[in-house]
Amino acid sequence: MKPKNLLRILMAFLFVFASTQSFAKTIKWSMQGDSLTLDPHAQNEGPTTMVSRQIYEALVTRGLDMSIGPQLATEWKTTSPTTWVFTLREDVIFHDGTPMTSEDVVFSLLRAQQPTSDFKEYISTVTSVRALGNYTVQIKTKAPNPILLNQLSNIFVMSKKWATDNFAIVPQNWDAGQETFSATNAMGTGPFKITLREPNTKTVFKKNGKWWGNVEHNITQIHLLPIKNAATRVAALLSGEIDIVTDAPVQDLARIKSSAGHKVESTPQMRTIFLGMDQAADQLRTGNTGDNPFKKKEVRQALYQAIDIEAIKKKVMRGLSEPAGIITFPGVTGYTKALDKRLPYDVNAAKQLLADAGYPDGFEVELRCPNDRYVNDEAICTAVVGMLGKIGVKVNLFAQTKSKHFKELKDNQGDFYMLGWGVPTLDSHYVFHYLYESGASWNKVNFSDAEVDAAIRVMEGEVDLDKRNAAIAKAWKIVRDNIAYLPLHHQVISWASKSNVDVPIRPNNEPLFRFSRVN
């Protein structure tokens, strides 16, 4: 080879090396589980929305401070108490270059109302969606809806043309295990676009160079690399293989903090962990008594009082949890400190309650648990098994990965299960609408109470805030007195990252990479 050629090749290498060093800013992001699907309306689940939020946008959205602000809509007004008119941005284009118009917004909202959508509860009060012009959308609701904006902030807008071309007009039927094009591909308007998708292994997001917004981040790529094992995830972070972990294991925070190149941020999360007990089935699927002990309130209360939540907080959560009395947390409309007070931990009272209910020797049941969704979820369940064993209830633990756990739960296979609930709308209505209303999609304890259902209707249509708050308070009192669920605690989340990676932590555990910087 001529020396001159050699020099050229060396120069080329040097150039490539120098350019990748100085310009490419990649964030390698890890958590224990992956997004379940890229279809923006198929699965209403934390990590799934975390991923969708980077590639899809909604009419309005919550900013870093969790307040509602404009996104695809620039302004909105109510022309009558039940009619809303949204004016859309005119400079928004999808990742494939086609401009976004009111057609796409109408399509997306109607798509999210389809039976296979997991987001239909958000906008169940919406009766009609109509395009008034190319960039104007009119939304009508059944009754005056005080929380419509909160709800719309979770309905992502996708391309109508793309969905039509790729047979994705209706949302993927995730519960039935359907596979669609939209589950592994995405076409949104967000600041990032997906360039590679290998479920549970690697997802690559690339900067959307034609994004309409003011670019505040300096990231060219995000790699999402889920690592299920907690110790492996921390090892990957400490060795520099991963830049940020959005669910740092509580037991390793001290170790990460002690590393010079890493930092840890913690904040109370908007998520409550609880246990559900099927109160409607005539016979437990996994029981040994031939009936359903959970039908009796005494039994539910016995289980409640047998759980030593302080021990779980101290030993399993290492102090990073807040024991809960209801499935909602400070900051949500309807939350009060008094409601959030737990029944006392009292093993003897629990035994007495079980005996009174006719189960002096306890009974047997299976507890279903995810093992890659919540902070130390399986360890919490194992601790619960031991605590319930002390009052004679023999619990068999069945822990599995979240995608199977949720699917089988929705398929009504659970007698006794763990679930966590966040409140993206920051309003109690969301909790009641999904968890307590008769026949609601996540009401797998089959709780049903006419008064609660009536109160939910009031929450949807009452604009007088005092009356509305009274309905919320009444509903909380009923479900709390009934012990419809066994609340455990509000999660505290911790994000651990390299010191030079700045991703602002948010109480809903959703990173917004458009505000992130790599220094």
């Binding site: 094992n229 030593d308 030993k315 399993v316 031991g386 633990l397």
Partner: protein, 308 residues
């Protein structure tokens, strides 16, 4: 002295094996360690007051107690406790019982299968021998851990989930046994090929003794030495295979942990300073496997110098 009047003890005492044994400190030490481990594992109910498999006897507030000689340690938990408040020593002993049961059963399973096939293959020869030996060749190309994972995966597919936890231990025995039988088949076939041409076999054939009796009554005792040697080493391998599978999460369920499961559960606390949760089961496994291996080495030297 007439040899018939010798007691069993005296016969053992006068044998070459005993002589070689008392001359080998490694053999004595490893045997001593193994006897202690076997005793403590199989009579664990009398050794420790705790039953880590009974969740209702545990107290979560005892969790993460360090070993008793450290600052925060408690005398009642000599090796500390794990994340659920289980006494480490008791958990390790209960766990090693499961590991030993799986190891022994798997080796016996592999031994019966391998020796049966290897012995008959060597004795009968012909197409049957070819088929059996090619089968071992094929299986030896697949790593044994992969074979065990395959068996476990299939078992998970066909056994219902409710039954799986109860069946897990049998699946594990089968999976490890099936992955180790080719070793036994090859060794016993090779030894049989040597033995079957000896005069005592020809003599038995001539007087009309049936093939089955020749194989198992006359040839088997003469090929037992190499089989015992690889059986012992196979036991160590089986125990490690069980730990590996349980570490990967396909072994016994965490509610009745074996040594491998314990190491896996403790792995989560490696960074957080609770080193004893994974260290003690791991060091116990090392000592156990090492002792068996040393004993196997000694047996190989004594019983069958040719394998050296």
């Amino acid at each position: 002295m007439d040899s018939k009047n010798l007691t069993l003890f005296n016969r053992i005492k006068d044998s070459d094996i005993y002589f070689s044994f008392i001359k080998s400190p490694t053999a004595i030490i490893s045997t001593f360690i193994l006897i202690v481990i076997f005793f403590c594992s199989f009579f664990v109910e009398f050794v420790t007051p705790y039953n880590p498999f009974d969740p209702s006897s545990l107290s979560l507030m005892d969790a993460f107690t360090p070993p008793s000689w450290t600052e925060d340690g408690l005398a009642k938990f000599i090796l500390g406790t794990d994340g659920q408040g289980r006494d480490m020593l008791a958990t390790i002993l209960y766990g090693s019982r499961i590991s030993l049961i799986v190891g022994f059963s798997a080796v016996i399973f592999a031994l019966v299968l391998g020796v049966g096939l290897g012995l008959s293959a060597g004795y009968f020869g012909g197409k049957y021998e070819m088929i059996v030996m090619r089968l071992t060749d094929v299986q030896l190309t697949v790593p044994s851990i992969l074979m065990a994972l395959l068996v476990d995966g299939i078992a998970r597919g066909i056994i219902s989930r409710e039954l799986h936890d109860e069946m897990a231990i049998y699946v594990l025995i089968f999976a490890i046994g099936i992955s180790e039988w080719p070793q036994f088949a090859r060794v016993s076939r090779a030894a049989t090929l040597v033995e079957k041409n000896k005069d005592y076999v020809s003599a038995s054939t001539i007087i009309g003794v049936s093939n089955l009796i020749i194989m198992f009554k006359h040839i088997l005792p003469n090929i037992l030495r190499p089989i015992l040697v690889i059986g012992t080493i196979g036991l160590a391998l089986a125990i490690i295979a069980e730990a590996t599978l349980s570490f990967l999460g396909v072994g016994v369920p965490p509610t009745t942990p074996s040594l491998g499961t314990l190491i896996r559960l403790g792995n989560d606390f490696l960074f957080s300073g609770e080193w004893w949760i994974t260290f003690f089961p791991a060091i116990f496994l090392v000592i156990l496997a090492f002792s068996i291996n040393l004993l196997g080495d000694w047996m190989r030297d004594t019983l069958n110098p040719k394998l050296n």
